[in-house]
Each structure stands twice: as structure tokens, then as C-alpha cells.
């Protein structure tokens, strides 16, 4: 019986193969020879692809419940998150899948750059990879907006204002993004069309080309110090290497990709289960003003850059820097497509990667702290912290909160970080200097001359003068 079933299946496969040739086609691709000793550094590309597949699958599942209506999307998100069977898990998987995809795209790109895999004859694969990098970020941004809570609404306004700074066509770009002059009913449909149709179609197409080029040009051999890429001889050397020492991709090399893919899937599912999707913010009502818009984690570094750039450079940076980054990345394989591949022989390449990664991490840390933002939730100093019942000091402490000083300055460990800590300001400035500073402002400090009265000024100075003494007394 088993033999009979086996024969029927074998005949069916033969008939299918005779009509399509797909079994041989796929088998040839799976078993195509690759250089030996590729190791674990070569797994990141397939890991990104796995993330993309997770995004497509979970995205289709979420789309079966999503309603792309500006008025209903927030309620639908609430329903998916808190009521739909497995909805919370699916949202979490989609979020962590996106996060993993962005992270792994970055790591894949760094690995390809440091190992010189973008050099001849793989220049076009680098270029398609750069396109995929920016498409992935665009997917992340449009996806965050589909969450359609208050943060999404203000992120949309922020993006429109940034686009608005483009010379000549800024207004048109902003309105193209919003689907009109203001945020409203047309905006969400537009983001959905980009997130679900346009961008994925572009990614599918370019991933197809990317993978075709991997097969066409072959996987690059691990770099060896002193072995240089010479476009005139590279093809022959590569063919010789494959003939002499090549190994079939499946399963000799692919098993590592599968192990990592399993780890990626398991991590995404575990994070979705144990951490869950990002909390929904307040409803997408642009007339609710008590909020603190901030981007998802992968754009946090850019949020910090916008806060820390010199003022005059900002508009130029917003428009020119992304364009320069695109042009530079596209030019990398044009400018350096031959020569050494091993990172130990390319110190400038290593230094450039280190500088970029450290800069992004540094800006990311600053962005997560956002010391430039006023701390609106700072509470008035407690009586214990004020440490006295002396009327001018108590009144000054209250004014320190009421006049907004505390939103930007820390005193006794409480308050914002935009301005300097004023706990021991009395050691740095005299009474007269304090009065002048409060009245006139200076640096990033506003002038409070028209905002505080003469008495207010006296009380504020009395409060600040008292801090070093009070903080030295244990509570």
C-alpha cells in the first residue's frame, strides 16, 4: 500500500515537473554552489527576509480586522488589542517584526560594507539594498501612523511640517502626505495605501531583483587580507574557487540561515507575548493638546538630531541630509568597487561605520532622555524639600513652579533638564546676577521681565539663594 501511494505521488510530481520544470528550477537554485567557509556572518540577509515574511503574514492577518477610516481606526485598534482573539499577540508580532527588520537591515548593511561584499560585481545588489533600507524605514513610519492614536496624528503633522521646508515644492509635498490642506479623513487612507500596497509592492519587486542578483553574481567569498578585487580577473577567480572548493547552498550553508531564522521568529513571538505591542495613546483628536509626541524607537535618534543641531542648519539638514545620505550610499560601490575587502585593510571604512553607529547610539540615548523638553508634569516642591516656612522662600518655591522655571530647571533633584541644575546656583551667581539673569534671560533662558513682578523676583531669588543651605540639611 505504501509503495502504491509512493508511486502515485512520484508520478504526480513527474507529471507536474514535465509540465512546469519548477522542481529542477528550484532545486538548481537551492543547490547552487557557494564559496566555502561563509560562516555566521552571512545569515543577516535571510534574517531580514524572514522578518519581511512575518510582516506580510501578520500584516495580512491584521488587515482582516483593520478599518482604514480616520474616525474608526482607533476603536478598531482598541478592539484588536484588547478583544480580538490573539489580536494583542498579532499586533505585538507586527511591531517587533518591524523593529527586528529595521535592526537587521542595518546589521546586514554594515556586514556587507565591512566585508566589502558590495564591490565588483555586486554593485547593483548594494544599490537595491540601499533602496530596500529606505523602503523599510518608510514602512516603519507609515506603520506607526496606522496605529492612529494621538502620537500618530502629531507625527503626521511633524512630517508634513518637515516636508514643508523643502524649497519650492514643500507645500505640495506636505499636502500630498496629508491628502489635503489639513489632517483629516483623507490622511489615514493615504497612509494605508502606501503601507499596504505601494511600499510592499516596491519591496517585493526589489527583493526579487536583490535575490536574482545574489544567484546571478553568487555569494561573495569571505574576505581575505591582501586578496584584492580586480574586475578584470574576478569572475574567473570566483568560478575557479567554486569549481575547486564550492559547496551546495542547501543544506551545507542554508542550515545556519534556518537556525537564525528560527531564533528570529522565536524572539519575535516571545517579545510579542511577554512585552506586548506598544500601548495605544489617547484618541487621534488634534484638539487634545496635553500630550508629548515622540517617535518610535528607531527614529528617536533623528528626533534628538533635530533638537541638538545648530539652529541655522536645521532646515538644510532636514532636507539635504537624507538626500546626501541616499546619494552617498548609492555612490559607495561606484567609488570603491575594487581593491581590498578585508576590514583589517580598510581602517577608514571601519572608522566610518564606528562613527555612524556611535553617533546614532549617542543621539538615541539623548532622544530617550529628551532633556530639551520641558517637564510639564513636575510637581511643586514639597514642604520637606523647601525646608523652611520663611514666607519669601515658600512663595519663591511656589513661583518657581508656577512661572514654569521648574519645567526646565532641576532644584533639589526635582524638575526638568533643559536648563542647568539650580540647586547650587547661589554659589555661581550673586543675588544681583540672579535678578539680572531672571529678568533678562540669555542663552536658552527666556526673559521673564514682563512675566514676574518685582516682588516675585525677590521671592524667587530668596528661594534660589536658600537652596545650598537647605539641601545641606538632612531631611
Amino acid at each position: 500500500m505504501a509503495g502504491f501511494i509512493r508511486k502515485i505521488l512520484s508520478d504526480a510530481v513527474d507529471a507536474f515537473e514535465e509540465r512546469t520544470g519548477l522542481v529542477k528550477f528550484i532545486g538548481d537554485i537551492a543547490r547552487h554552489p557557494v564559496p566555502p567557509d561563509t560562516g555566521w556572518w552571512y545569515v543577516f540577509g535571510s534574517a531580514v527576509l524572514v522578518c519581511f515574511i512575518i510582516q506580510v503574514v501578520t500584516g495580512i492577518a491584521l488587515a482582516t480586522r483593520y478599518v482604514a477610516s480616520s474616525g474608526s481606526a482607533y476603536q478598531v485598534l482598541n478592539y484588536i488589542t484588547y478583544k480580538a482573539v490573539l489580536g494583542n499577540l498579532l499586533r505585538g508580532m507586527h511591531f517587533f517584526g518591524a523593529s527586528a527588520m529595521i535592526l537587521l537591515v542595518g546589521i546586514h548593511m554594515i556586514q556587507v560594507f565591512l566585508m566589502g561584499c558590495y564591490k565588483y560585481p555586486r554593485e547593483f545588489n548594494w544599490i537595491t539594498g540601499v533602496m530596500l533600507l529606505f523602503l523599510t524605514v518608510a514602512m516603519g513610519f507609515t506603520g506607526q501612523l496606522l496605529r492612529w492614536d494621538q502620537t500618530a496624528v502629531w507625527a503626521t503633522v511633524l512630517a508634513a511640517e518637515m516636508l514643508g521646508r523643502t524649497p519650492f515644492i514643500g507645500t505640495y509635498l506636505a499636502r500630498f502626505l496629508l491628502g489635503g490642506k489639513t489632517l483629516g479623513g483623507a490622511t489615514l487612507s493615504r497612509f494605508l495605501a502606501f503601507h499596504v500596497f505601494f511600499l510592499p509592492a516596491a519591496i517585493f519587486t526589489i527583493v526579487g531583483i536583490h535575490l536574482y542578483l545574489v544567484i546571478h553574481d553568487g555569494i561573495s567569498a569571505p574576505p581575505v587580507p591582501g586578496v584584492k578585487v580586480n574586475p578584470k580577473t574576478y569572475r574567473a577567480e570566483y568560478e575557479k574557487l567554486l569549481d575547486e572548493r564550492g559547496v551546495p547552498f542547501w543544506p551545507d550553508v542554508a542550515w545556519r540561515d534556518v537556525v537564525v531564522a528560527f531564533g528570529v521568529v522565536a524572539t519575535i513571538v516571545a517579545l510579542a507575548h511577554f512585552v506586548g505591542p506598544p500601548e495605544l495613546g489617547k484618541p487621534p483628536n488634534p484638539s487634545l493638546l496635553a500630550n508629548d509626541p515622540s517617535p518610535d524607537w528607531y527614529m528617536l535618534w533623528y528626533y534628538a538630531v533635530l533638537a541638538l543641531l545648530p539652529r541655522g542648519m536645521e532646515s538644510v539638514f532636514m532636507i539635504a541630509a537624507p538626500l546626501c545620505a541616499v546619494v552617498f550610499l548609492l555612490l559607495v560601490p561606484v567609488l570603491w568597487n575594487k581593491g581590498e575587502r578585508h576590514p583589517s585593510r580598510r581602517p577608514w571604512a571601519v572608522a566610518a561605520v564606528l562613527m555612524i553607529v556611535l553617533s546614532i547610539v549617542g543621539f538615541w540615548i539623548e532622544g530617550s532622555k529628551a532633556p530639551w523638553s520641558p517637564k510639564f508634569d513636575a510637581q511643586p516642591l514639597s514642604a520637606a524639600l523647601v525646608g523652611t516656612t520663611s514666607p519669601p522662600i515658600v512663595t519663591g518655591a511656589q513661583l518657581f513652579h508656577d512661572k514654569g522655571c521648574e519645567f526646565c530647571h532641576t532644584v533639589d533633584g526635582q524638575g526638568g533638564m533643559r536648563g542647568p541644575d539650580l540647586t547650587d546656583v547661589a554659589h555661581r551667581l550673586s543675588v544681583n546676577d540672579l535678578r539680572i539673569k531672571i529678568a533678562n534671560g540669555g542663552g536658552n533662558m527666556p526673559s521673564f521681565a514682563g512675566i514676574v513682578t518685582h516682588d516675585d523676583l525677590d521671592n524667587l531669588v530668596a528661594f534660589l539663594e536658600s537652596r545650598p543651605t537647605m539641601t545641606s540639611i538632612p531631611p
Binding site: E161, G164, F176, T182, F376, K403
Partner: protein, 183 residues
């Protein structure tokens, strides 16, 4: 039938002139068909850019509802709300009654990147939570990333009702930014 001089499987070849003509015809027809579809599709997608939209006044309340000297938030509807926009169609302005007859309206959007500014009544300042923009009570720039006043929100007082029209985005390119109009 293939002629004897032709290679097997190539069929009867057309003359070079005819092949060139048919090749160009095919390319031209494809391009025209693609253009017909493409122009209509792109036109539909970029329609919001070229669609004219008249400003619409929205009433935000009777003048006597506002206390002299107070700055309060008023909410009102977008000038072109769509039926499915829900709460997204709402927007707001900061409204201050100066005396018995005069009111002024201020935008809720920071001059930097449009984030919502908050009114701190005891400090008499507008502050932005995003990148630390600070504005005087008349929304003139005090501190922050973009040294410019917040954009204009047009408003008018008529027959005891206060009317307002929101700032379109991007706000930075709006003419007359930084001024308010009232009556």
C-alpha cells in the same frame, strides 16, 4: 510556410522596414495606453494638491462665554470635514478675551514643527513639549529651535459670536505668519 533559406522555427520573417514599423507601433501604443491610465491615476492621487478649498469659518462660541483676561482652548471642526473623519476633523485654538469687545486667537501649533503648544497661565507663556519652544503671551518667539512666531490663525468677531479658521499645513509657508487678525 517557412522558406527553404530560413532557419528552422523562425517562421516567415517580415521585411526589415515592416518589422521596424511594427516594433515602433507596439512601443508607441503601449506608451500611450500606459500614459492614459497613468495620468488619470496620478491625477487622482495628487488631486488634493490641486483641489481648491475655500476657507470656512467656524463659530467657537459667544463672546460673553469668555472671561476677560483668560486664555482658553476652543475646539472646532476642520474646514472640510469628511463624514468618516470622526474626532480627527477637530482642531483647536487658544482664545483670549482682552476686554469687552476685543478677542485674539492663537494657533496651537509650534513654529518649529507644528507640535501642540500649551498655555501656562501663571507663567504667561506658551510652551512646546517636543523640542522646547517657548513663546510670549502673544506667541512671539522667546526660545526654541525656530526663531519665528507661531503661525497666524485667522479669526473674527461678528454679532457677538467668535469665529475662527484653522491653520493649514505646513504652517511655516503660510503668508502673514506671526500675525493675528481680529475685529
Amino acid at each position: 510556410m517557412p522558406s527553404e533559406t530560413q532557419e528552422p522555427g523562425r517562421g516567415e520573417a517580415l521585411s526589415p522596414e515592416r518589422r521596424r514599423f511594427l516594433g515602433r507601433l507596439s512601443i508607441a501604443l503601449s506608451a500611450i495606453a500606459a500614459a492614459m491610465v497613468g495620468i488619470l491615476v496620478v491625477g487622482f492621487i495628487i488631486g488634493p494638491l490641486i483641489q481648491s478649498e475655500e476657507p470656512v469659518w467656524r463659530q467657537v462660541g459667544a463672546v460673553n462665554n469668555f472671561q476677560i483676561g483668560e486664555t482658553v482652548k476652543v475646539s472646532f471642526e476642520d474646514p472640510s470635514p469628511m463624514l468618516w473623519a470622526g474626532v480627527t476633523s477637530l482642531t483647536a485654538a487658544w482664545l483670549r478675551r482682552l476686554d469687552a469687545e476685543r478677542l485674539v486667537a492663537f494657533t496651537i501649533n509650534c513654529a518649529h514643527l507644528g507640535c501642540p503648544v500649551r498655555w501656562l497661565p501663571k507663567a504667561g507663556l506658551f510652551m512646546c513639549p517636543c523640542h522646547g519652544g517657548v513663546y510670549y503671551a502673544d506667541e512671539q518667539w522667546l526660545q526654541g529651535r525656530r526663531p519665528a512666531p507661531c503661525s497666524n490663525i485667522r479669526s473674527a468677531c461678528a454679532t457677538g459670536r467668535w469665529r475662527s479658521w484653522r491653520v493649514p499645513f505646513p504652517s511655516i509657508n503660510q503668508p502673514g505668519a506671526g500675525r493675528w487678525q481680529g475685529s
